[in-house]
């Protein structure tokens, strides 16, 4: 083998060695890049997933609070209006009682009948009727022919009457205040149906 041939062989050995080394390093760099990309991708996915659940919780908490505060405002407003209606109704009832209107007289008569039904009985000697002072004469005229002994007592009320037996074991509540309180749950619904349709409430 001539010296030129040997030199060429040496060059060839080194050319191949350099090529191989370069390939090895290039592949390593590509692998390193893949490893880093994969890690970044996993981080992004994990962040996105925990971010999404954080967002859902945050949304539920903040909007839930706003909705419940909003509902509270609507309930308060409706309640104020309903109370205004009751206050106005009470004024009207007071006026009915004071004027002894026909509607009021009928109410008083029916209340008296119901009181007698409820309180009187074979073991009851006397029925005590409690009423507003201004109604006592009117009630007295209504009980003239009552089948049981009756006693009238003055009481502080807008109108109507309460009644009991002498021992206080049977009691009938028929004053305007009692009737109003007893009817309030049903009346609230009726008032709401009358007032809050069509106001976007």
């Amino acid at each position: 083998m001539s010296s030129e041939q040997l030199e060429a062989l040496k060059e060839e050995i080194w050319r191949r060695a350099r090529e191989r080394a370069e390939r090895i390093l290039k592949e390593a760099e590509m692998e390193a890049e893949r490893i880093l990309e994969e890690a970044k991708k996993r981080v992004e996915e994990s962040l996105r997933s925990s971010l999404e659940s954080e967002k859902i919780l945050l949304r539920r908490r903040m909007l839930g609070r706003a909705l419940s505060e909003g509902r509270r405002m609507l309930i308060m407003a409706k309640s104020e209006v309903v109370e205004k209606v009751f206050a106005r109704a009470l004024e009207k009832l007071r006026s009915e009682a004071e004027s002894k209107s026909e509607a009021y007289r009928s109410f008083l008569r029916r209340s008296l009948e119901q009181a007698l039904d409820h309180v009187s009985g074979p073991d009851v000697d006397e029925v005590i009727v409690y009423a507003n002072e201004s109604d006592l004469d009117l009630i007295a005229s209504m009980i003239e022919n009552a089948p049981v002994s009756m006693r009238l007592e003055r009481a502080s009320m807008i109108g109507g009457l309460n009644a009991s037996d002498a021992g206080g074991q049977r009691i009938y509540y028929g004053s305007i205040e009692s009737r109003l309180e007893a009817l309030k749950p049903i009346l609230r619904e009726k008032i709401a149906a009358t007032l809050f349709r069509g106001v976007g409430a």
Binding site: A32, L36, A66, E69, L74, R88, F107, L183, K190, F196
Partner: protein, 99 residues
């Protein structure tokens, strides 16, 4: 130059390749270490906090919209005309007096 010198060159070339292989290993190990570091630091990043803060701001606006809608509805309820209040009060009177 002889065959012996060629063998020597061949050995040097192999060592050169071997050296490249070692460097390649180091490159990959560094990448794995960096990947580990990236994965460990992923739980609570500034980017996530920023994104959540931005989202919270948009939710505040949405919550305020909900509140002002409800506030407006509450005002409409309070502004119910007097004649309707009168009508409802008359209904109460009728129910109480049973007429």
């Amino acid at each position: 130059m002889s065959i012996a010198s060629i063998l020597l060159e061949e050995k040097k070339a192999m060592m050169y390749v071997e050296e490249a292989r070692k460097r390649a290993q180091e490159i990959i190990q560094r990448a794995r270490a960096e990947a580990e570091r990236i994965l460990r630091g992923s739980s609570d990043t500034e980017a996530m906090r920023m994104e959540l803060r931005r989202y919270e701001e948009s939710l505040k606006e949405e919550a305020e919209r909900i509140l002002s809608e409800h506030r407006a509805r509450a005002e409409r309820i309070r502004a119910i005309p007097e004649e309707l209040i009168e009508k409802a009060a008359d209904l109460v009177v009728r129910e109480v007096l049973g007429s």
